[in-house]
């Protein structure tokens, strides 16, 4: 595995798992399943989150779409009232009326801009939504790949990833994952919860491991 392949693998893993929090649609599920061989080719099985990611895709492939959609609605509350597993960082901050949400969203906007990213967002995918945050990580991995291929230093891109994981995803995603597993609404979402947590926990550590080593060639 080359350094560029590793960054590509991580990018794909973030995209695949992040998309699991979107409404389940046939085309989206097929796309997820089809992306697995690409990740495997990039060395997925070299990393410990591989097992939970594969488990999630297997569950997704055999799930009934209506059941999935109903579980998705109940858990993430898209278009409904209060979600049992809100997929947004602000929901895990405590009192939503304290102004903390506004502060967080503003902080995230600044962080994304400082990374050189202008994420798309709307009412169903605010800046603190797990899918948006996973997309940000994927984009940072993409930036890392580009720099590796261009033979430039990846230090900044890797530092941004580590900061974002340490300050955001690494803090609230394990809580979301625990809630999803506790609610036990659908096996595919249980598997998604474990895959999400495993990727975030593992990737924080991998970045530490990576930065502690001399830079490898592209």
């Amino acid at each position: 595995m080359s350094s560029a392949d590793r960054a590509r693998l991580r990018q794909g893993s973030y995209r695949l798992i992040g998309s699991g929090f979107n409404s389940p649609l046939t085309g989206r599920i097929e796309e997820t399943i089809q992306s697995v061989p690409v990740l495997v080719e990039l060395g997925l099985f070299d990393y410990s989150y591989a097992i939970s990611l594969i488990e999630y895709v297997e569950q997704l492939a055999t799930a009934d779409l209506e059941d999935l959609a109903s579980a998705h609605m109940a858990m993430f509350g898209v278009g409904a009232g209060v979600a049992s597993c809100p997929p947004t960082e602000s929901a895990w901050l405590g009192d939503p009326h304290s102004g903390a949400t506004a502060v967080l969203l503003s902080e995230l906007r600044r962080a994304y801009l400082s990374f050189g990213i202008r994420p798309r967002h709307n009412s169903s995918s605010p800046l603190d939504h797990v899918t948006v945050q996973f997309d940000v990580m994927a984009t940072l991995c993409d930036m890392e790949t580009e720099r590796i291929v261009a033979g430039r230093s990846t230090e900044r891109a890797v530092r941004h990833q580590a900061e974002f994981l340490n300050h955001h995803l690494g803090i609230w995603v394990p809580l979301l994952s625990e809630r999803m597993i506790g609610i036990n609404r659908h096996p595919a979402f249980n598997a998604l919860a474990l895959a999400t947590r495993t990727l975030v926990v593992h990737d924080r550590e991998l970045l530490g491991f990576q930065t502690a080593l001399p830079q490898a060639s592209p």
């Binding site: 595995m1 099985f45 591989a50 097992i51 594969i54 550590e205 491991f209 080593l213 490898a216």
Partner: protein, 472 residues
């Protein structure tokens, strides 16, 4: 079901083994483990450690859906005789079947030992190993316990405000915190008490001849030797005397611990390993058992200790007392006693002349060896059988400078037989306002003496009012 795959390079197994499949070139091409059957739930792999690329092996395990931490690995390089090979495989199967599963937080990435062929040409892929985690529901850090913190050789654990913080980046997963925790709240899924006991029991069951059990660091290399079977642990520094004695109690004829390198432990745990070996010999001496059973001895010349039926498992948190009591019952002795350097068994003494009966020692004691009850009197009791010599009672005592409490490491079966006994008793005056207990008389006298005559009024309030009523 459990399946075992054995690399058949270098040597053919000495006998056909039931349930074991031979795979040619397994060490050089780990993808060959894909031949594992669909119904296999647990997997054991026999490899030659010098040939095998552990990172690729882990990758191959994930590819067929196995968590590498739950796959038993046996180094078959030196297992050329039928009996040791069968016993080692049986042990690996038992340990694998007892693997409790690992959460994402219980894994850690490290550089693979040595330089793999792949890592020379590409981005190094890390090896995944088991990491400790703290069961916050069981942990008693809120009572002040920080036994794991003081034992950590790399300062990866800190106690803050009644809870333990864990810095995974600093941790080396040596396992010392696991065996130091007196209540088993620190867990490394790859080295649980139950799994190690199951492994040793299975090895002994599968051995027809005398067997010695030798613990080896995960990065260490077996020195072989007839009759010796290896049990891998994260670091030999994590072992306590109980770990070395337990195999003898279970039927092994000898026991030993080997650091990962002849030049010494890279974590500088050599002194811990040496102390543990010395303590183990001291305990055997005290019990009238052969101290030569500890260390690199000739196994064939020894016979197992007589076996009795044990009450429950040998391995567990603070296991020393149980193992010593079992060995004492073999010797039919109830008078053995010994002083030791570092074994986790101790005795606490309280000096009634200087102890103020504040009972902080009982509050922090993780095993309830020290307990306190408070009503119109405060009574502090001590049970030496429960003491793990963590010395936290000594560390927290506010009157330590006056020698109010002291601890010695060692055991005395006669003392154990006396059981729980009173160490300190003092009266507790009632609050003049609400009637609730104020504090022990000795503590109030001590405070009065420290305040002196110029603060007599304050002292009077302190002596007669409880904390809640003092401001009223």
């Amino acid at each position: 079901m459990t399946q075992a795959l054995l690399c058949s390079d270098h040597q053919t197994p000495p006998v056909p083994l039931d349930g074991v499949s031979l795979v040619e070139g397994l060490c050089f091409d780990p993808s060959a483990i894909a031949t594992v059957r669909d119904e296999t739930q647990h997997l054991v792999i026999g490899i030659h450690r010098d040939d095998a690329d552990l990172v690729r092996l882990q990758s191959a395990m994930r590819r067929i859906g196995f968590d590498p931490l739950g796959v038993g690995i046996v180094d078959v390089s030196l297992l050329t005789e039928p009996q040791p090979l069968v016993a080692a495989l049986a042990g690996a199967v038992a340990r694998t079947e007892a693997f409790p599963g690992a959460s994402p937080e219980q894994t850690m990435l490290v550089r693979a030992p040595g330089i793999s062929r792949r890592s020379l040409l590409s981005a190094p892929v890390p090896l995944t190993i088991g990491a400790p985690s703290i069961d916050t529901r069981a942990c008693i850090a809120d009572r002040g316990c920080r036994a794991c913190v003081s034992s950590c050789p790399v300062d990866a654990l800190t106690w803050t405000g009644g809870s333990i913080s864990y810095d995974k980046a600093a941790c080396v997963a040596c396992g010392i915190c696991v065996t130091t925790c007196p209540i088993g709240a620190v867990v490394n899924p790859t080295v649980t008490y139950a799994a190690v006991e199951a492994q040793i029991a299975a090895m002994l069951d599968a051995s027809a001849a005398s067997v010695g059990i030798r613990y080896i660091c995960r990065d260490g290399e077996s020195s072989g030797g007839p009759g010796w079977l290896d049990v891998y642990v994260p670091c030999a520094g994590m072992l306590s005397a109980g770990w070395l004695l337990a195999p003898l109690a279970m039927g092994a004829v000898a026991t030993d611990a080997m650091p990962c390198s002849e030049s010494g432990c890279p974590l500088r745990n050599d002194h811990r390993i040496a102390s543990t070996l010395t303590d183990t010999r001291t305990i055997l001496d005290a019990l009238g058992l052969d101290r030569e059973r500890v260390g690199p001895v000739k196994v064939a010349s020894l016979t197992p200790l007589p076996a009795l039926s044990a009450d429950g498992p040998m391995f567990g948190p603070s296991m020393e007392r149980q193992v010593i009591e079992y060995l004492a019952s073999i010797r039919s002795t109830n008078t053995a006693a010994a002083s030791m350097g570092s074994a986790p068994i101790g005795t606490v003494s309280i000096d009634p002349a200087t102890c103020t009966a504040c009972a902080l020692c009982a509050r922090i004691c993780p095993t309830n060896a020290l307990t306190a009850t408070t009503s119109s009197e405060v009574v502090i009791e001590f049970d030496p059988r429960l003491c793990v010599a963590c010395a936290q009672c000594v560390g927290i005592c506010p009157e330590i400078d006056r020698g109010a409490i002291s601890m010695s490491t060692g055991f005395d079966l006669a003392d154990w037989a006396r059981g729980r006994r009173e160490m300190r008793r003092d009266t507790v005056p009632a609050c003049e306002s609400c009637g609730k207990p104020v504090a022990s008389s000795a503590m109030l006298e001590r405070i009065t003496a420290m305040l002196g005559s110029e603060h007599a009024a304050t002292a009077t309030i302190l002596r007669t009012r409880c904390l809640a009523c003092r401001g009223r």
